[in-house]
């Protein structure tokens, strides 16, 4: 238990101390929200889909969560490069606990980031339809955050240098984000694209957020949360297995 706590605490301290990372990771979602929100807003309205900023906000919250979460998970590569990973690998505690602590730490950060983006989205006019559903929405954010931090950790455990990081960003995170319905409605898509979006776990996270914040989901909250929970468990299992097999 103390292992999980200290690993969690470390992630938070590191995050809190790198102010540039906080600011930097808020800039991109904000840019997407404002540029796309205002840029595409009138087209979206004319197509009869309503207010685009409102529609977009949960997607951008999901975007900031997936980026921060995968980035946190991938910290394993940094720790390997800077040597700190060895310190945790020779410690007489279970690697499962180390991995869980790291993952919960990264997920906490990603959730915080999601909440901050949510609050920022209020400025251009985003409003949840029922404030009471904020709490379940934050829980969904946390679930999505755990899922992607575990995924990042799993991948980083088998990569040995930083070159792999770009690969992850370009061939994993970007497609996951663009194919998740963060930017466009999931209904009425071409069949092929519609199929692809159904294999993207982020789709379910963002759908659940739209359900809770806007009351306009596609899959239904039950399906969303079950898919998220199952995939999270799979990634946690894979991540802790691969993490426990790390050799230096």
């Amino acid at each position: 238990m103390s292992t999980i706590y200290i690993m969690w605490l470390r992630e938070l301290k590191r995050y809190w101390r790198s102010k540039s990372r906080i600011v930097g990771s808020l800039g991109q979602p904000l840019l997407f929200l404002l540029a796309l929100g205002y840029g595409m807003g009138s087209v979206f309205q004319r197509a009869g889909e309503g207010n685009y900023i409102n529609f977009l906000a949960p997607g951008i919250v999901g975007m900031s969560i997936i980026f921060t979460a995968v980035f946190s998970g991938v910290q394993v590569i940094w720790d390997r490069q800077f040597g700190f990973l060895k310190e945790t690998m020779v410690a007489p505690v279970s690697r499962f606990n180390i991995m869980i602590g790291r993952t919960l730490g990264g997920a906490t950060i990603a959730t915080l980031q999601g909440v901050v983006v949510f609050l920022l989205a209020l400025i251009p006019g985003f409003r949840p339809y029922n404030w009471a559903l904020m709490l379940p929405a934050v829980l969904v954010m946390f679930l999505v955050a755990v899922l992607f931090t575990a995924l990042g950790t799993a991948i980083a455990s088998v990569l040995s240098d930083m070159q792999g990081f770009q690969l992850i960003m370009n061939f994993l995170v970007m497609p996951l984000f663009f194919l998740s319905g963060a930017l466009f409605p999931l209904s009425g898509l071409p069949a092929a694209l519609s199929l692809v979006t159904k294999f993207d776990p982020l789709s379910y996270g963002i759908d659940a957020l739209r359900e809770l914040l806007l009351n306009q989901g596609v899959f239904g909250l039950g399906l969303d949360t079950s898919v998220l929970a199952v995939v999270t468990l799979i990634f946690l299992a894979a991540g802790s297995y691969l993490f426990s097999k790390i050799q230096i």
């Binding site: 470390r10 590191r14 040597g83 007489p92």
Partner: protein, 266 residues
Amino acid sequence: MDNIIEVLELTKRFGDFAAVDNISFTVKPGEIFAFLGPNGAGKSTTIKMLTTLLASTSGSVRLNGYNPVNSPGLVRRSFGIVFQDPSLDDELTAWENMEFHGVLYGVEKKLRRRRIEELMNFVELWDRRKSLVKQFSGGMKRRLEIARGLLHHPKVMFLDEPTLGLDPQTRNSMWTYLQKLNKEEGVTVFFTTHYMEEAAKIAQRIAIIDHGRIIAIGKLEELLGETQTTSLEEAFLKLTGSTIRDEEAGAADQMRMRHQVWRGRR
């Protein structure tokens, strides 16, 4: 228990390249043991296998009576280590790095706080305890790592080139402290170094490894006797010597380089 470290026919291969080639040796409890060899001889690879960081290709290891493969947890509880490369968290303060280690090793809070202060005073970093490690010089980081490795009072202390980049003052006080710990608490010390006079002065027994094989092992006088030399440096050079070795080293180095290129930093 007769031996705190028992290594039997230990081998580690990367592809066709044998980084450690069928080595056997033992270390007695309370011994100060030096593990010497030129760069790339297999020292660090051996330490990694002893400390559960790397799986061996074949052969067996027992540390404090435990097998690193079957019971890594018990092995990890038995040793402390100062790595060759830094392994601190740069974004945490010096004190936080110590605290983190203490928690991971389950040192009870009161004892932990006391030892942290004692050890940080010893390495003269107590005044800098609130500084982030990234602001430290190389020597300061080294000192902090040594203090950290001693925090949980391990049975065996591994030190992989611990004095690299330390000034003579720090080096001296470090060895004084380790010798005291060795005498008073019976901590076994297993270290590597490139400073031959240091090994000659500190170590009770010395092993010399080259090309992954142990080529000499024994007390200083025994090594000097075998090689007909008067200092460890001469003995070392004679054993790991010049002419024959250079030809072989070329091929081995190339192999190692290729290996590093393909496998990154593993």
